[in-house]
Protein backbone atom coordinates (compact mmCIF):
# COMPACT_ATOMS: atom_id res chain seq x y z
CA UNK A 1 0.00 0.00 0.00
CA UNK A 2 1.51 3.29 -1.05
CA UNK A 3 -0.17 5.54 1.53
CA UNK A 4 -1.35 4.75 5.02
CA UNK A 5 -2.49 7.55 7.30
CA UNK A 6 -1.20 5.79 10.41
CA UNK A 7 2.36 5.35 9.11
CA UNK A 8 5.07 7.86 9.90
CA UNK A 9 5.89 10.01 6.88
CA UNK A 10 2.70 8.97 5.10
CA UNK A 11 0.66 11.55 7.00
CA UNK A 12 2.60 14.29 5.25
CA UNK A 13 1.76 12.85 1.82
CA UNK A 14 -1.92 12.64 2.77
CA UNK A 15 -1.77 16.25 3.97
CA UNK A 16 -0.32 17.25 0.60
CA UNK A 17 -3.05 15.34 -1.17
CA UNK A 18 -5.59 17.14 1.01
CA UNK A 19 -4.09 20.48 -0.05
CA UNK A 20 -4.73 19.41 -3.65
CA UNK A 21 -8.28 18.38 -2.65
CA UNK A 22 -8.92 21.81 -1.11
CA UNK A 23 -7.61 23.68 -4.14
CA UNK A 24 -9.63 21.48 -6.51
CA UNK A 25 -12.80 21.83 -4.40
CA UNK A 26 -12.48 25.62 -4.32
CA UNK A 27 -12.16 25.90 -8.09
CA UNK A 28 -14.90 23.30 -8.69
CA UNK A 29 -17.26 25.19 -6.34
CA UNK A 30 -16.76 28.40 -8.32
CA UNK A 31 -17.26 26.64 -11.67
CA UNK A 32 -20.40 24.77 -10.61
CA UNK A 33 -21.91 27.84 -8.89
CA UNK A 34 -21.44 29.77 -12.12
CA UNK A 35 -22.93 26.97 -14.21
CA UNK A 36 -26.15 26.60 -12.21
CA UNK A 37 -26.51 30.19 -11.03
CA UNK A 38 -26.50 29.54 -7.30
CA UNK A 39 -23.89 29.14 -4.61
CA UNK A 40 -22.56 25.61 -4.25
CA UNK A 41 -19.85 24.68 -1.81
CA UNK A 42 -17.89 21.53 -2.67
CA UNK A 43 -15.50 19.78 -0.33
CA UNK A 44 -13.23 16.89 -1.24
CA UNK A 45 -11.61 14.76 1.43
CA UNK A 46 -9.20 11.89 0.96
CA UNK A 47 -10.86 8.91 2.57
CA UNK A 48 -8.09 6.42 2.04
CA UNK A 49 -6.10 4.45 -0.45
CA UNK A 50 -7.70 1.07 -0.82
CA UNK A 51 -7.01 -2.07 -2.75
CA UNK A 52 -9.39 -1.95 -5.70
CA UNK A 53 -11.02 -5.18 -4.62
CA UNK A 54 -11.88 -3.51 -1.30
CA UNK A 55 -13.44 -0.38 -2.78
CA UNK A 56 -16.82 -2.01 -3.32
CA UNK A 57 -17.79 -2.17 0.38
CA UNK A 58 -18.02 1.65 0.48
CA UNK A 59 -21.19 1.29 -1.55
CA UNK A 60 -23.04 -2.00 -2.01
CA UNK A 61 -22.13 -3.88 -5.19
CA UNK A 62 -25.79 -4.02 -6.27
CA UNK A 63 -26.58 -0.43 -5.29
CA UNK A 64 -27.77 1.62 -8.27
CA UNK A 65 -25.56 4.65 -8.78
CA UNK A 66 -24.71 7.23 -11.40
CA UNK A 67 -21.12 6.73 -12.52
CA UNK A 68 -19.12 9.26 -14.51
CA UNK A 69 -15.94 7.68 -15.84
CA UNK A 70 -13.22 9.94 -17.15
CA UNK A 71 -9.87 8.66 -18.46
CA UNK A 72 -6.72 10.81 -18.38
CA UNK A 73 -3.43 10.60 -20.24
CA UNK A 74 -0.36 12.81 -20.56
CA UNK A 75 2.26 12.74 -17.84
CA UNK A 76 0.10 10.24 -15.97
CA UNK A 77 -2.22 7.56 -17.30
CA UNK A 78 -5.27 6.85 -15.22
CA UNK A 79 -8.96 7.51 -14.70
CA UNK A 80 -11.52 8.85 -12.30
CA UNK A 81 -14.88 7.33 -11.49
CA UNK A 82 -17.26 9.76 -9.84
CA UNK A 83 -20.14 7.99 -8.13
CA UNK A 84 -23.46 9.28 -6.77
CA UNK A 85 -26.03 7.04 -5.12
CA UNK A 86 -29.42 6.93 -6.92
CA UNK A 87 -31.31 9.33 -4.60
CA UNK A 88 -28.44 11.83 -4.55
CA UNK A 89 -28.28 11.64 -8.35
CA UNK A 90 -31.95 12.58 -8.67
CA UNK A 91 -31.57 15.49 -6.22
CA UNK A 92 -28.43 16.70 -7.99
CA UNK A 93 -30.27 16.66 -11.33
CA UNK A 94 -33.20 18.60 -9.86
CA UNK A 95 -30.85 21.24 -8.45
CA UNK A 96 -28.81 21.53 -11.63
CA UNK A 97 -31.84 21.64 -13.91
CA UNK A 98 -33.65 24.08 -11.56
CA UNK A 99 -36.57 21.71 -10.87
CA UNK A 100 -38.24 21.32 -7.46
CA UNK A 101 -36.34 18.70 -5.44
CA UNK A 102 -38.15 15.37 -5.71
CA UNK A 103 -39.19 15.84 -9.36
CA UNK A 104 -36.67 13.46 -10.99
CA UNK A 105 -37.67 9.80 -11.06
CA UNK A 106 -35.87 8.80 -14.24
CA UNK A 107 -32.83 10.31 -15.92
CA UNK A 108 -33.19 12.07 -19.27
CA UNK A 109 -30.38 12.64 -21.77
CA UNK A 110 -30.17 16.21 -20.52
CA UNK A 111 -29.76 14.97 -16.93
CA UNK A 112 -26.98 12.61 -18.05
CA UNK A 113 -25.30 15.46 -19.85
CA UNK A 114 -25.52 17.65 -16.71
CA UNK A 115 -24.03 14.86 -14.58
CA UNK A 116 -21.17 14.42 -17.09
CA UNK A 117 -20.51 18.14 -16.74
CA UNK A 118 -20.28 17.74 -12.96
CA UNK A 119 -17.74 14.97 -13.64
CA UNK A 120 -15.82 17.26 -15.96
CA UNK A 121 -15.76 20.06 -13.41
CA UNK A 122 -14.67 17.90 -10.47
CA UNK A 123 -12.13 15.79 -12.32
CA UNK A 124 -10.89 18.75 -14.36
CA UNK A 125 -10.23 20.87 -11.31
CA UNK A 126 -8.66 17.95 -9.45
CA UNK A 127 -6.22 17.19 -12.24
CA UNK A 128 -5.47 20.89 -12.74
CA UNK A 129 -4.61 21.18 -9.04
CA UNK A 130 -2.55 17.97 -9.15
CA UNK A 131 -0.81 19.03 -12.36
CA UNK A 132 0.01 22.47 -10.96
CA UNK A 133 1.36 21.01 -7.74
CA UNK A 134 3.59 18.53 -9.54
CA UNK A 135 4.31 20.71 -12.58
CA UNK A 136 3.08 18.06 -14.99
CA UNK A 137 0.56 18.07 -17.83
CA UNK A 138 -2.51 15.87 -17.51
CA UNK A 139 -4.92 15.51 -20.43
CA UNK A 140 -8.56 14.71 -19.71
CA UNK A 141 -10.74 12.74 -22.12
CA UNK A 142 -14.48 12.74 -22.75
CA UNK A 143 -16.56 11.54 -19.77
CA UNK A 144 -18.66 8.38 -20.04
CA UNK A 145 -21.85 7.78 -18.13
CA UNK A 146 -23.62 4.77 -16.67
CA UNK A 147 -26.59 4.39 -14.31
CA UNK A 148 -26.39 0.87 -12.98
CA UNK A 149 -24.93 -1.38 -10.25
CA UNK A 150 -21.93 0.21 -8.53
CA UNK A 151 -19.99 -3.05 -8.43
CA UNK A 152 -20.36 -3.56 -12.17
CA UNK A 153 -18.94 -0.11 -12.94
CA UNK A 154 -16.20 -0.07 -10.32
CA UNK A 155 -14.83 -3.45 -11.30
CA UNK A 156 -14.74 -2.58 -14.99
CA UNK A 157 -12.70 0.55 -14.29
CA UNK A 158 -10.42 -1.22 -11.82
CA UNK A 159 -10.02 -4.25 -14.08
CA UNK A 160 -8.30 -2.00 -16.61
CA UNK A 161 -5.62 -1.32 -14.02
CA UNK A 162 -5.65 -4.67 -12.24
CA UNK A 163 -2.60 -5.94 -14.05
CA UNK A 164 -0.52 -2.94 -13.09
CA UNK A 165 -1.79 -1.77 -9.73
CA UNK A 166 -4.26 -2.91 -7.14
CA UNK A 167 -4.86 0.35 -5.32
CA UNK A 168 -7.12 3.37 -5.79
CA UNK A 169 -7.23 6.74 -4.09
CA UNK A 170 -10.76 7.26 -2.76
CA UNK A 171 -12.12 10.76 -2.14
CA UNK A 172 -15.40 11.70 -0.56
CA UNK A 173 -17.06 14.58 -2.39
CA UNK A 174 -19.59 16.69 -0.54
CA UNK A 175 -21.87 19.27 -2.23
CA UNK A 176 -23.60 21.91 -0.13
CA UNK A 177 -26.41 23.62 -2.02
CA UNK A 178 -28.68 26.27 -0.48
CA UNK A 179 -31.38 23.73 0.37
CA UNK A 180 -29.70 20.32 0.17
CA UNK A 181 -26.45 18.47 0.82
CA UNK A 182 -25.23 15.60 -1.35
CA UNK A 183 -22.38 13.15 -0.90
CA UNK A 184 -20.60 11.11 -3.56
CA UNK A 185 -17.26 9.39 -4.07
CA UNK A 186 -14.46 9.91 -6.52
CA UNK A 187 -12.12 7.01 -7.23
CA UNK A 188 -8.75 7.88 -8.76
CA UNK A 189 -6.73 5.17 -10.42
CA UNK A 190 -3.27 5.43 -11.93
CA UNK A 191 -0.84 2.91 -13.26
CA UNK A 192 1.59 1.68 -10.62
CA UNK A 193 4.63 3.51 -12.00
CA UNK A 194 2.54 6.69 -12.06
CA UNK A 195 1.47 6.27 -8.44
CA UNK A 196 5.10 5.86 -7.41
CA UNK A 197 6.07 8.92 -9.46
CA UNK A 198 3.25 11.01 -7.94
CA UNK A 199 4.13 10.00 -4.39
CA UNK A 200 7.80 10.63 -5.05
CA UNK A 201 6.98 14.06 -6.51
CA UNK A 202 4.74 14.90 -3.53
CA UNK A 203 7.67 14.31 -1.22
CA UNK A 204 9.63 17.01 -3.01
CA UNK A 205 6.99 19.78 -3.31
Amino acid sequence: MWLQANKKGEKMKLEKLNQINKQAALSASAALSKLIGQDVSISMATVEVKKVEEVKPLIGAEEIVAGIYLPVTGAVKGATLLVFPKDSTFILCDLMMKRPVGTTRKLTELDESALKEVGNILSGNYFTALGNKLQIKIIEHIPNFSFDMFGAMATQVTNQFALKTDEALVLQVHFKFRSKEITGYMLLLFELEQIEAIVSALEKV
Binding site: I142, N144, S146, G151, Q156
Partner: protein, 149 residues
Protein backbone atom coordinates in the same frame (compact mmCIF):
# COMPACT_ATOMS: atom_id res chain seq x y z
CA UNK B 1 -27.30 -22.49 2.17
CA UNK B 2 -26.11 -19.46 0.23
CA UNK B 3 -22.39 -18.91 -0.31
CA UNK B 4 -21.04 -15.67 -1.78
CA UNK B 5 -18.30 -16.00 -4.38
CA UNK B 6 -16.05 -12.95 -4.10
CA UNK B 7 -14.34 -11.28 -7.04
CA UNK B 8 -11.36 -13.29 -8.24
CA UNK B 9 -12.42 -16.42 -6.35
CA UNK B 10 -13.62 -19.94 -7.17
CA UNK B 11 -16.01 -21.89 -4.96
CA UNK B 12 -16.86 -25.56 -5.49
CA UNK B 13 -19.88 -27.08 -3.78
CA UNK B 14 -22.36 -29.92 -3.71
CA UNK B 15 -26.11 -30.50 -3.63
CA UNK B 16 -28.22 -28.08 -1.55
CA UNK B 17 -25.97 -25.07 -1.87
CA UNK B 18 -26.62 -21.82 -3.74
CA UNK B 19 -23.55 -19.93 -4.96
CA UNK B 20 -24.00 -16.22 -5.65
CA UNK B 21 -22.15 -13.08 -6.64
CA UNK B 22 -23.24 -9.48 -7.16
CA UNK B 23 -22.48 -6.42 -9.29
CA UNK B 24 -20.90 -8.14 -12.28
CA UNK B 25 -19.87 -5.81 -15.13
CA UNK B 26 -16.98 -6.69 -17.43
CA UNK B 27 -16.09 -9.53 -15.06
CA UNK B 28 -17.17 -12.98 -16.18
CA UNK B 29 -19.02 -15.42 -13.93
CA UNK B 30 -18.46 -19.03 -14.96
CA UNK B 31 -20.55 -21.90 -13.63
CA UNK B 32 -19.71 -25.57 -14.17
CA UNK B 33 -22.20 -28.28 -13.16
CA UNK B 34 -21.98 -32.07 -13.20
CA UNK B 35 -25.64 -33.22 -13.16
CA UNK B 36 -24.69 -36.83 -12.36
CA UNK B 37 -22.37 -36.11 -9.44
CA UNK B 38 -24.52 -33.11 -8.38
CA UNK B 39 -21.41 -30.99 -8.00
CA UNK B 40 -20.98 -27.41 -9.15
CA UNK B 41 -18.48 -24.59 -9.16
CA UNK B 42 -18.68 -20.84 -9.65
CA UNK B 43 -15.84 -18.49 -10.58
CA UNK B 44 -15.99 -14.67 -10.55
CA UNK B 45 -13.19 -13.85 -12.98
CA UNK B 46 -11.83 -10.39 -13.84
CA UNK B 47 -9.35 -10.73 -16.70
CA UNK B 48 -8.88 -13.17 -19.60
CA UNK B 49 -5.45 -14.69 -19.32
CA UNK B 50 -3.08 -15.24 -16.44
CA UNK B 51 -0.88 -17.57 -18.45
CA UNK B 52 -0.02 -14.82 -20.94
CA UNK B 53 1.10 -12.57 -18.06
CA UNK B 54 3.26 -15.17 -16.40
CA UNK B 55 0.77 -15.78 -13.59
CA UNK B 56 0.10 -19.40 -12.71
CA UNK B 57 -2.24 -19.49 -9.71
CA UNK B 58 -4.61 -16.51 -9.47
CA UNK B 59 -8.25 -17.40 -10.11
CA UNK B 60 -9.04 -13.84 -11.10
CA UNK B 61 -8.05 -14.93 -14.62
CA UNK B 62 -10.50 -16.87 -16.81
CA UNK B 63 -7.98 -19.50 -17.93
CA UNK B 64 -6.60 -20.23 -14.47
CA UNK B 65 -10.04 -20.18 -12.84
CA UNK B 66 -11.39 -22.80 -15.27
CA UNK B 67 -8.37 -25.02 -14.57
CA UNK B 68 -8.91 -24.65 -10.80
CA UNK B 69 -12.64 -25.38 -11.11
CA UNK B 70 -12.03 -28.58 -13.09
CA UNK B 71 -9.25 -29.78 -10.75
CA UNK B 72 -11.38 -29.19 -7.65
CA UNK B 73 -14.56 -30.69 -9.16
CA UNK B 74 -12.71 -33.82 -10.30
CA UNK B 75 -11.15 -34.19 -6.86
CA UNK B 76 -14.69 -34.38 -5.43
CA UNK B 77 -15.84 -36.94 -7.98
CA UNK B 78 -17.08 -34.92 -10.97
CA UNK B 79 -16.14 -35.85 -14.52
CA UNK B 80 -15.04 -33.24 -17.08
CA UNK B 81 -17.02 -34.99 -19.83
CA UNK B 82 -20.25 -34.44 -17.84
CA UNK B 83 -19.68 -30.77 -17.13
CA UNK B 84 -22.21 -28.20 -18.31
CA UNK B 85 -21.02 -24.59 -18.46
CA UNK B 86 -22.87 -21.28 -18.26
CA UNK B 87 -21.46 -17.76 -18.64
CA UNK B 88 -22.79 -14.50 -17.20
CA UNK B 89 -21.33 -11.00 -17.46
CA UNK B 90 -18.66 -9.78 -19.85
CA UNK B 91 -20.47 -6.46 -20.25
CA UNK B 92 -19.03 -3.10 -21.21
CA UNK B 93 -20.45 -0.55 -18.78
CA UNK B 94 -18.85 2.39 -20.60
CA UNK B 95 -19.02 1.33 -24.26
CA UNK B 96 -18.02 4.70 -25.73
CA UNK B 97 -14.54 4.77 -24.31
CA UNK B 98 -12.60 1.58 -23.91
CA UNK B 99 -9.17 0.90 -25.27
CA UNK B 100 -9.97 -2.76 -24.89
CA UNK B 101 -13.32 -4.45 -24.35
CA UNK B 102 -12.23 -6.59 -21.40
CA UNK B 103 -15.72 -8.11 -21.07
CA UNK B 104 -15.70 -9.43 -24.64
CA UNK B 105 -12.12 -10.71 -24.19
CA UNK B 106 -13.18 -12.60 -21.05
CA UNK B 107 -16.08 -14.26 -22.87
CA UNK B 108 -13.96 -15.19 -25.90
CA UNK B 109 -11.29 -16.72 -23.67
CA UNK B 110 -13.79 -18.89 -21.77
CA UNK B 111 -15.43 -20.13 -24.98
CA UNK B 112 -12.06 -20.99 -26.49
CA UNK B 113 -11.08 -23.04 -23.42
CA UNK B 114 -14.44 -24.86 -23.32
CA UNK B 115 -14.06 -25.80 -26.97
CA UNK B 116 -10.53 -27.07 -26.38
CA UNK B 117 -11.52 -29.10 -23.33
CA UNK B 118 -14.79 -30.38 -24.85
CA UNK B 119 -16.97 -28.74 -22.20
CA UNK B 120 -20.52 -28.05 -23.34
CA UNK B 121 -21.66 -24.41 -23.04
CA UNK B 122 -25.41 -24.68 -22.43
CA UNK B 123 -26.32 -21.11 -21.51
CA UNK B 124 -25.01 -17.57 -21.61
CA UNK B 125 -26.11 -14.04 -20.70
CA UNK B 126 -23.14 -11.98 -21.78
CA UNK B 127 -22.26 -8.59 -23.30
CA UNK B 128 -24.44 -5.49 -23.31
CA UNK B 129 -23.84 -2.54 -21.02
CA UNK B 130 -25.60 -3.47 -17.78
CA UNK B 131 -24.59 -4.99 -14.49
CA UNK B 132 -25.78 -8.40 -13.36
CA UNK B 133 -26.07 -10.35 -10.12
CA UNK B 134 -25.98 -14.13 -10.33
CA UNK B 135 -27.29 -17.08 -8.29
CA UNK B 136 -26.34 -20.66 -9.12
CA UNK B 137 -28.24 -23.57 -7.58
CA UNK B 138 -25.95 -26.55 -7.20
CA UNK B 139 -29.10 -28.64 -6.62
CA UNK B 140 -30.62 -28.05 -10.07
CA UNK B 141 -27.77 -26.47 -12.01
CA UNK B 142 -30.07 -23.49 -12.65
CA UNK B 143 -28.70 -19.96 -12.87
CA UNK B 144 -30.80 -16.89 -11.95
CA UNK B 145 -29.73 -13.43 -13.11
CA UNK B 146 -30.78 -10.09 -11.65
CA UNK B 147 -30.43 -6.87 -13.68
CA UNK B 148 -31.43 -3.23 -13.19
CA UNK B 149 -34.25 -2.25 -15.56
Amino acid sequence: VNTEVKMGKVVVSNNGVCLSTTGVGSCLVITLFDPQARLGAMAHTMLPSGASHGVSHSTKYVDLAIDAMITQLEALGASTKNLEAKLVGGANMFPHDQEHDIGAENVAKAKKIFKKKGIQLIGEAVGGSHGRSVEFSVTSGGVTIKINI
